[in-house]
Structure formats: structure tokens, C-alpha cells
Amino acid sequence: MNEFIERNVRLSWHAAKRSYEVVIVGGGGHGLATAYYLATRHGITDVAVLERKYIGAGNTGRNTTVIRANYGIPEAVRFYQRSLDLYASLEEETGRGITHRQKGLLWLAHSETGIRAERARAELNTAFGAGTEYVGPDEIKKICPQLDMAGGGVWPILGASYHPGGATARHDRVVWTYAEGAMQRGVHIHQRTAVTGLMMDGDRVTGVETDGGPISAGAVVSAVGGHVTALASMAGLRLPIRTHPLQAFVTNRYGLGFDPIVSSSSLLFYASQTAKGEMLLGAEIDRQPSYSYRSGHHFLQSCGHRAMTLLPFLRNLRVLRQWTGVCDMSPDYSPVMGKTGVEGFYITTGWGTWGFKAIPVGGEQMAELIATGETPDLIAPFSLDRFARDRTMADRGSAGTH
């Protein structure tokens, strides 16, 4: 048996009850992880996860699986480093394989300004617990021999910040691992159950209306990706979220090993190799707000061109498939999570292009918030009211792509 053959995932389905202690809307990574940590860390198992399609159908199944903690503000570095640690121990904790591979991430600089930015990133990351070092061209060539150091004569590689903790994991397996772990402890997951409204008692959310009937709940958590504005408006909330599509593609198998994750903020692309050997490439979000899952040729052309500038071997590969997800972008490129000001209604959104890497820590911290009623220190800076308090967590420089 090899690692691509699934062992049976033990999921157990139940009929929906009319009432739960906690109802989580959205059966993606963040929703399922919240349910898992509620059950394992806090013993709260009277939990339902409602999913409109099937678990992991949204952005958890569409992202490019990069796990890293080299962010640009102290609050984010601490937060994502916790996620990195949880991911690294998830296989041992659950006994399930998620194809977790620690690869190291190179963030390339092509100019004097770029070098300054990467040096600053390395210093800041190291100071706040996410190991990153600045490396010169000789070391870069050793870490990734495939790179054209002249950058096609236009984008010379002058330096990079190297983040050894950078990793990838298989996204479907992360979904199934959390779903199975939660279900084994008594959590109900209801697929093909769309939430059509919120039940309110005055200013308090007391449950959800679904296409299968109403379900009352002590606490409702929105872990929705893509349609969170509509859900929050049912509770009378207006969100600082705009939804943009993000495209990615994979090539056919590249026979030689490509060890690290390589990204360039000047050329706005990143590349890594999947466990099957395909080269996985992505870039930045589309410029128009949209909920469309359609992919386009222009993206292949522009992203492919930029990637081939630095990785000439890609010329000999063919595009296998291309897909699109929708990203909930926040104004400051940081997540929005925690209490909402509406009693009984919690939110975890604004996961833009950085949601997959935060699944364990997002779930863990939301579970702690729901179980204790106190906002944990790690997520306090990311609360929804930070915009009104003029305390935005601006981090576009390190969150813009992957």
C-alpha cells in the first residue's frame, strides 16, 4: 500500500437533531477543526457542522497547501507559528497521514529594496519565534539548483529569506482527519444542508434555519468561506470583506525532485512540488470581486510566463489542470475572528489567501473562545472591532499571494 491509497476514513453520519450546544456553519477546514478541538480539548461534543455541499468542497479543497509562518507583523508570526507546530504534530495526534512535508520556503529578492525587505522579514520572524534567515545567491543555488540565478536577465536573484519551517500537506486529508476525529467523539456533520437564515431572539442568535428545518443552538459559529457577507447580514452585521477569485494550476509530473517552496513577491508567483510530483503554481487574486469559479487562459499565460523566468525547466512541462477558489479578502490582509458584538454569534473569516495554513490554530483558538467565553490572547488582535478601534493589522506584503 502506498501513501496515495486511502485507508477507509471512518465517518459516521447521523440524522440532524433539533438542538445542539454549538452549531458551526461551514464544513471546511476551519469549521471542522473548530469542532475537533471543541471535542478533544474542551469535551464539548454536542456540536453540529452544517455544510452546503460536501466537506472540503470550498476553498479548503482548492488552495495550494502552503504552510508557513514568515509573516510581516508580530501578532501574525506568533499566530501562524502555533499553526505550524500543530500541523507538525497532527499526524501523531490523530494517527492519520496528511502527507505533511517540511520543505523550507525561499522568498526571493530581485532588487536592493527586495533585499532590505527580506532581511527585515528574517529579523522579525526570528525575533517572534518563526525561524527565518537571510541567504545569499550561493546558498539559494544549493537549496534550489533549478533556479536561473540571472532571472532570464531581467529579474536577477540577489538574495532571499529562507524559512526552513515552510511545509505542505494534502488538503483533503486534513479535512478528513479533522472530520473523523470530531465524529468519533460524537460531533454530527450534516452535508448538503444549506443555512437559509439565522434565528434571532432580540439581539441574540439562538439557532439557524436550514433547508432541512430549524436547528436551535447555544452558539452559532460562522466558518463560511465565500458567502460570509450574506450570512453575517442575517445577524445585522456588515463585514469588511470583499470576495475575489484566486486561480492556480498544476503541471504534469516533474521527474526530478524539487525540494523547497519558491516564491517571489516581485514576480507574484509561487511554486512547489506535490507529493505526486506535479508542479503546483499560483499567483495573486483576480482584480475583480466575484464569486465565479471559472478559470481563464490569461492567468495561465501570465503566471506561467513569470514562473518560467525563474524556473526555466517548467518550459518542458504541460499544464494538467487549473481551478479557482474564492478568497474573502479583508482590508488589512489579516483574518477576522472572534466575537461579533451579537450574542451567541461567532465568526471566523477574512481567510483570503492564507486560510489553509491557519486551519489548526484557527480551530483551536475558536474552540477555546466558544468553550470559555474569553477571547484567547493569540486571536485578540484579529477581532472584528479592530477597524472601529483603528487597530488594523496591515500585512499585505507577506500575505498577498500564498
Binding site: T229, R242, D286, R287, Q288, S290, T324, F387
Partner: protein
């Protein structure tokens, strides 16, 4: 998904030539001036369906145009020039 925008001055051009501009609408139900400023600065309607928006033809005529577009399927419904 890349699509094309029919510019009233230049003809149909790829979206990559344009810069997006949101039409910000603060609902009348918000009356407090501070809250209205907060809404204008950070909040987005993020509509799912037909919506009006502005695009600046940066690599063309350097004029703004107004577009009605469906955010579910990128269908363009109509365009009108504005100054």
C-alpha cells in the same frame, strides 16, 4: 477568470487594462457620523449577483466607466461612460 470590458471610448478590451473601483454605498440607516466614516472606509457590500461598479481604463483612454456586472458568473449587463 479573465474577461473583457466594452470601453465606450476604446472598444472591447481585456480586464487587465483596467483598474477596479468600488461604488461605496453607506446605508441611510447608519446615522452616527463616526460610524458612517467607518463604514465608508472599511465595509464592503460584497454583493452576490448583479452589481454596479467603476473601472478606470488605465492602459487606454484614462477615463472611468460604469459597469453593471453579475458577480456570480462575470456576465456584463451594460456599460455607461462617466466623467
Amino acid at each position: 477568470m479573465s474577461f473583457h470590458i466594452p470601453c465606450p471610448n476604446c472598444g472591447t478590451r481585456a480586464i487587465e487594462e483596467f483598474v477596479y473601483g468600488e461604488i461605496v454605498v453607506v446605508p441611510d440607516s447608519i446615522t452616527d457620523p463616526d460610524e458612517r466614516n467607518l463604514d465608508r472606509a472599511f465595509i464592503h457590500g460584497n454583493p452576490e449577483g448583479p452589481t454596479s461598479e467603476r473601472w478606470f481604463h488605465a492602459m487606454g483612454c484614462q477615463r472611468w466607466l460604469t459597469l453593471r456586472r453579475d458577480t456570480r458568473d462575470e456576465q456584463i449587463i451594460l456599460t455607461a461612460p462617466i466623467i
